[in-house]
Symmetry: C2
Subunit: 356 residues, 2 copies
DNA sequence: CGCCGTTGGTTAATCGTTTAAATAGTCGAT
DNA sequence: ATCGACTATTTAAACGATTAACCAACGGCG
């Protein structure tokens, strides 16, 4: 049923070695023979048995992609772009949803890598340094971190190596500065921040960057209130409650949600709380989607250059696989950077609530 | 570096055969030996080399998932659910975006299957019967069609077999009836339909089912106007133009878009045309998303039971792989069926435009 | 003529598992 | 003691591709 190398060899009247070499374009095979072999091969519809090849060469031509959940629109777009970029580079993608769960994430990277199911893994890490990742780093495994940098705690052997895994992301500092300026100019002085989990580096990093930007723009630190979510939509919704009725001073007049689905949750939360956006409270999201413009109100959000990110990730992976620098030191900051796309969800704070 | 079966055998003081048998739970191995082997195996962190296993058993433990584009929210959700269901069944998923392009789709099914990269393919077919699919069907390949049934033109050998591939979907008739009733009751008598490509069976099927429902509800056939899209967002937007200024009678007072992203496009198109939804024109989409409720207005749409669909698809695949009926005749209609989720995008037609 | 280099190809070993077939050991019955 | 009939384990043969090592044929050259 299946046509094997041997069948092609038989049909072309040469040895299997010749077929293999010819198909891989080895110059030791004469042009005529090569041509004949190729012709026969695709007349028979020959495709090399992936397993056999993988056994022999210890490489599979596929990459693992481990994300929180493809249903998250940011990941969906990312997955699409990565698959396309990978296909162009001759790789296929095996998709894994870890549901933002560290244990599941670990299990996926371990089993994909250890079982030689893939040549490498592109990982959008969900959590801080877990045992599995630590091991992967220590073993100099083929992992590229995407979008979220990973914490390197301590300075043991394992950590040093883990740090060596390439990290691909893009800088939000400019977009944060724009956001801060926008909010300040509109008159906001109290802003709520829905951050990613603060146990993770990315959580603290985004928070700190945003806080820095707000401060630089002139919004006093004691005007900002931070609550952490877990990247999921629900956590965004819950966070709104926390932001709104936490004891102490008056509630924020603007909220920025620092992770895709959390912004959607926030919008639902705000609506549930009976607050009108942007008349009574402004909202900025992170990770854009084309249909945000159809929201009520159209959601202002910080967009990541997804295609560029995806391209850089697979490029980085390919390089890593072809013996690139295992000790790649600095995160690769992809250009173009994140950018703020202004839509309708930001407006001046209500007069009664605005101080000064 | 990598720990092989032999390493485990050595460490446990038995032969490789014993290890293999023990790990697969073969009762011919004594309980004590088995226990020892298992213990050693996971102390060493042994994972079988996927390629080697695949070579020997001619099965890979992975399934191909070929869709139009994961960035399409319906596919994104589907992909997530399928990956989870597959994981539960012990399969991993290799993801392929064919960008709603028939040639690319063909290429993916051919290369995945012929190269034994996957055991089977779950396919949301993008087009009518293509040569590649015809061959796949003829060769009794491991393919399950999902969501969109496939046209079986002619009655040659190839077609008969292709028809044998299982088809998993869910019936929209109830939801269509509800839609028709809703529109009728609101007073609509002229409705525009944005259909999938009419060269495809799914396109004609959805159109005909909807038209039937509209007629049954009392909306005369000459009141409905159909224009086809290609499932992509842009085509929905363009379709609106076609629906609106096509010569002849007055424009529709309601539009139903029969495919995910096309509804979003339609909404953009309507807005671009300066029409207010639902005051001036009503809109119903197909394929729901949780954030449709945040749209302006909240988009009424027909939801497919995605998780059920995904579950049925992998179940069907597993059954097929374990020697199920290759001649599986009828499409498997998944329960629960599609259902109409009413939100704010439908209202009575404007009085001036409403006839009678 | 004999030797060498080159060109174009083949032989055979190998990758890590699985599994049919062979083998050793044990026990009971004769 | 001998012969099955088990049981637990091992031996060895695949699976299909890649590739190092080998070889034949042919010219050119001293």
């Amino acid at each position: 049923m299946a046509v094997r190398l041997r069948d092609v060899a038989l049909a072309a009247g040469v040895s299997t070695a010749t077929v293999s070499l010819a198909l891989s374009g080895n110059p030791r095979i004469s042009a005529e023979t090569a041509a004949r072999v190729v012709e026969v091969a695709d007349r028979l519809g020959y495709r090399p048995h992936a397993g056999a090849r993988s056994l022999r060469t210890d490489s599979t031509g596929s990459l693992g992609l481990v994300v929180g959940d493809v249903a998250n629109p940011f990941f969906a777009e990312l997955a699409g772009e990565i698959q396309r970029a990978a296909a162009r580079a001759g790789f296929s993608i095996v998709l894994c949803n870890c549901d933002e769960d560290a244990a599941r994430q670990d299990e996926y990277v371990r089993s994909l890598l250890a079982g030689r199911q893939v040549d490498g893994i592109i990982l959008v890490p969900t959590a801080a340094l877990t045992p599995g990742l630590r091991m992967a780093g220590a073993a100099r495994e083929r992992v590229v971190f995407l979008d979220r940098p990973l914490e390197v705690a301590g300075d043991g052997e394992a950590e040093r190596h883990l740090a060596g895994c390439p990290v691909v992301r893009c800088s939000p500092v400019r977009a944060f500065a724009d956001t801060a300026a926008l909010l300040y100019d509109l008159g906001h002085r109290r802003v709520g921040v829905i951050a990613p989990p603060l146990e993770t580096l990315i959580g603290r990093e985004r928070r700190d960057m945003l806080l820095g930007a707000l401060a630089a723009a002139g919004i006093a630190a004691d005007g900002v209130r931070v609550v952490a979510g877990d990247f999921r939509q629900d956590s965004g919704q819950r966070a709104i409650a926390g932001l709104l009725d936490a004891g102490g001073g008056p509630p924020p007049t603007a909220v920025v949600a620092l992770g895709g689905p959390m912004a959607i949750g926030a919008m639902k939360g705000l609506r549930a709380a009976g607050l009108r956006v942007p008349a009574e409270i402004s909202l900025v999201g992170f990770d854009d989607a084309p249909w945000f413009e159809l929201f009520d109100p159209p959601l202002t959000a910080i967009a990541q250059p997804v295609a560029a990110l995806a391209g850089a990730a697979v490029r980085s992976m390919v390089e890593l696989l072809s013996g690139g620098p295992a000790e790649a030191a600095e995160p690769i900051d992809v250009r173009p950077a994140c950018r703020l796309v202004r839509r309708g969800s930001c407006a001046p704070p209500p007069v009664v609530a605005a101080d000064r």
